[in-house]
């Protein structure tokens, strides 16, 4: 096959670029440890969420020295906890927070505005994401997947408070 020399050069550079991209992402995963949401959260039956031992009483739970588990149930059109009716999610600063999010009805999204925390919430599945709280403040939680006609009203709040103000309850 006849290939022009400039074409060969271009082809070489294109391949280099591609391999470079794959390399960077591999580094991000292996080196920097950016893990993708995966199947580690397990499954839960959407109809039985209220009887589930964790999701039946969702909320913040201290599980280690500076580590907290937060179970959240998304349903049309609220996060429990997170949305106003259930109260904001409150965690102390300088801690590791593991979110476990599932849906009791349709597909939703869960993202914490201004951060990298972002996952789909799929009925039947539990999404597990971990964040480190580095700065105090209020962060909006958005449902970013269309979930029905009230979708635009579906929001919540995460409050990262100083360690000494943290009292361990959802409010």
């Amino acid at each position: 096959m006849h290939i022009h020399s400039y074409e060969k050069l271009w082809l070489g550079m294109a391949l280099l670029l591609i391999v470079g991209f794959i390399g960077t992402i591999t580094y991000g995963t292996v080196g920097a440890g950016v893990q993708m949401v995966d199947d580690s959260g397990g499954n839960v039956e959407p109809g039985n969420v209220s009887e589930h031992e964790e999701f039946g009483e969702p909320g913040v739970e201290k599980v280690g020295e500076n580590e907290y588990d937060v179970h959240v149930v998304a349903r049309q059109f609220v996060f429990n906890p997170g949305s106003e009716v259930y109260g904001a999610i409150e965690v102390p600063v300088n801690s590791t927070v593991n979110f476990y999010v599932t849906s009791a009805d349709v597909i939703h999204g869960f993202s914490i505005a201004g951060t990298n925390a972002n996952t789909m919430v799929i009925p039947g599945e539990v999404a597990e994401i971990t964040i480190e709280t580095e700065e105090t403040g209020e962060y909006g939680i958005v449902c970013h997947e269309y979930c029905g006609e009230g979708h635009h009203n579906m929001e919540g709040l995460l409050r990262v408070v100083p360690e000494d103000e943290y009292n361990g309850s959802t409010q």
């Binding site: 096959m1 794959i22 199947d39 009805d105 349709v106 505005a113 990298n116 789909m120 039947g124």
Partner: protein
């Protein structure tokens, strides 16, 4: 734009085929018009500039926008263009034109059914709706006529492909030793990719969603159906793109005054699309729970390699245009750019489309980066990206291509060349504005698919303000809408320009022709087989894992809204509702 030549035009030589092409383009453009109106409503509503609809109806609008533009407009233009390309490049009619009419009718009927289901969502009295967006994720549920319409539409496209393969086989009998003409090669490879890709959505709709919406099965698994959707959802973007590439490779060099640089490379590019388009769909599910990280990683690697055909295209297209410019007397390292036919809306439209495609390519590389995806997933960045690709590289190329093709299909000149030129430039400007603002807003975390992205908290804007970005989206969207109106009215007025002879156009052979490439490139069976193997490798394990976790039909999943009723109730209620509206 077509200028007068002495040759008979396509419609002179193939009147019946030209009628099919015209009709397909007509459906495409009607959809473009409705879709653009919806786009304008969205751009103004989201940004709170003007809210003429209830926010609950926003999602009906958005479903129509997505389905009418991304599915119906693009694919109807494709079948029209491909019918022209096959007929022209093989220089022969379909084996049986009645079959050609049959698929065009199937596709139209399917679109009307799905379209009706969506639009009836505006009328609360009628128990029919399909407010499920173009991705129709279960357990959101649409009326069965939506799913049935989609299925009929897709079967119509399968028949179109069969029609073109049949024409090619008939040609092959008469020309046993010739290489497949390039345009036909592009059509056939596109369709192989399409057959592989649509398997996912066909199973999703026929085995799961349609029976479920009819009440024949109780539940479906949201993750499984979603994964089947994306099995189809990524390659569909190449189904949009490949007809645009066909125009860039075969028509654009000609308009620029030159010839395609390399025919062999064009073939390689299309084969790469056949092989790599489908085993990547999981990159739309990077942040889905329930799918192991390893599968995401494999999809990411394949996706990166899928950059290759587009990077090669950039080279060949630019080289061909440069050749054209030099033929026209252009000189210098960049000076040749001034020798290009910038006053020709067909050329300028395609060139601007290509330019924004390059920008879209960059934002696409970001999307593809698995761990960077956390930042942009489901934010406004994503529609910002694909309005550059399908919304411009494809849509603007189609419009520009129409300026060139239309006279050959009708024997009538385009009504106004200056308006056409203004139209393509306006699309470019409007899209640059809208898409740029969408990208930036997405980086701040503003979500897509939302009627009112105004929450009780503020998004942390790093530069500029959210207010400025909103204004840019509204202004950009308005320019795009005006551009669409200009396009459609220019075309409508062209129906009234006097009929003339001699609009025929030829496409010159490539500088480096097919004889420079190995014959194995034309072995369709081989490429189809490898494509299937790659898809099995990429999907067998993830699908198997989902099914072994959740079963085939999921557990305890209820449909929303609660639409499922026995079949006969459905028919009764639907008819009663329709009768009420008509009365």
């Amino acid at each position: 734009m077509s200028t007068q030549t002495d040759q008979p035009s396509f419609v002179d030589r193939y009147p019946e085929e030209a009628a099919v092409v015209r009709r397909s383009l007509l459906v495409a453009f009607v959809m473009l018009g409705i879709g653009a109106l919806m786009g304008l409503v969205q751009a103004l509503h989201r940004t709170n500039v003007l809210r003429i609809i209830d926010s609950a109806d926003y999602y009906t609008v958005l479903t129509a926008h997505g389905v009418f533009l991304a599915i119906v407009f693009t694919i109807f233009f494709l079948v029209g263009l491909y019918q022209w390309a096959v007929t022209r490049s093989l220089d022969r009619s379909p084996v049986d034109i009645r079959f050609t009419h049959a698929w065009a009718t199937m596709m139209t009927v399917g679109s009307l059914m799905a379209g009706a289901a969506i639009l009836l969502g505006f009328i609360d009295e009628v128990p029919v709706s399909a407010d499920v967006l173009f991705t129709f994720y279960a357990p959101l549920q649409a009326h069965p006529i939506f799913y049935a319409g989609l299925a009929i539409f897709i079967v119509g496209t399968w028949m179109a492909g069969a029609d073109w393969f049949r024409t090619w086989l008939a040609w092959r009998k008469d020309n046993p030793d010739e290489r497949i003409p390039l345009q036909t090669f592009m059509v056939l490879t596109t369709m192989i990719m399409w057959y592989v890709a649509t398997l996912g959505v066909a199973v999703e709709v026929l085995v799961f969603l349609l029976p479920w919406s009819l009440g024949l099965i109780d539940s479906v698994d949201p993750l499984l159906t979603r994964t089947l959707f994306w099995f189809f959802g990524h390659p569909v973007v190449y189904f949009w793109l490949m007809p645009a590439y066909l125009l860039w490779y075969t028509v654009m060099p000609k308009i620029a005054g030159g010839r395609l640089f390399s025919d062999p490379l064009a073939r390689v590019v299309f084969i790469l699309f056949v092989l790599l388009s489908t085993p990547v769909g999981i990159h739309h599910q990077y942040v889905d729970p329930g799918i192991a990280q390893g599968f995401k990683f494999i999809a990411m690697t394949n996706t990166m390699f899928l950059l290759l055909p587009s990077l090669l295209t950039a080279f060949t297209v630019v080289a061909s245009i440069e050749h054209g410019a030099r033929q026209r007397g252009g000189t210098g390292l960049f000076g040749w750019l001034t020798a290009l036919p910038w006053r020709d809306p067909a050329f300028t439209g395609m060139a601007l489309a290509g330019l924004l495609f390059a920008a879209g390519g960059f934002s696409g590389m970001v999307n593809a980066g698995m761990n960077i995806n956390y930042l942009v997933h489901n934010t406004l960045w994503v529609p910002g990206h694909f309005h550059l690709t399908v919304g411009t590289a494809v849509a603007l190329t189609f419009m520009a291509g129409t300026y060139w093709l239309w006279p050959q299909l009708t024997n009538r000149e385009i009504y106004s060349r200056p308006i056409a030129l203004a139209q393509v430039v306006m699309w470019f400007g409007g899209m640059a504005l809208m898409s740029n603002a969408m990208h930036v807003a997405g980086l701040f975390g503003v979500p897509r698919r939302t009627a009112e992205p105004q929450y009780s908290f503020d998004f942390p804007a790093l530069f500029g303000t959210i207010g400025e970005l909103r204004l840019q989206i509204a202004v950009g969207g308005t320019l795009l809408f005006i551009s669409t109106v200009l396009f459609l009215s220019n075309l409508a007025f062209s129906l009234g320009t006097p009929k003339r002879e001699g609009f025929g156009q030829t496409i010159p052979p490539a500088l480096s022709g097919p004889e420079d490439s190995p014959a194995v490139l034309d072995n369709m069976k081989l490429w189809a087989a490898i494509a299937v193997v790659l898809v099995v490798l990429a999907y067998a394990l993830p699908l198997g894992a989902i099914i072994s976790d959740n079963g085939l039909f999921g557990v305890g999943i209820e449909p929303y809204p609660m639409l499922v009723r026995p079949l006969f109730d459905w028919a009764g209620a639907t008819l009663a509702g329709l009768a009420e509206v008509i009365a």
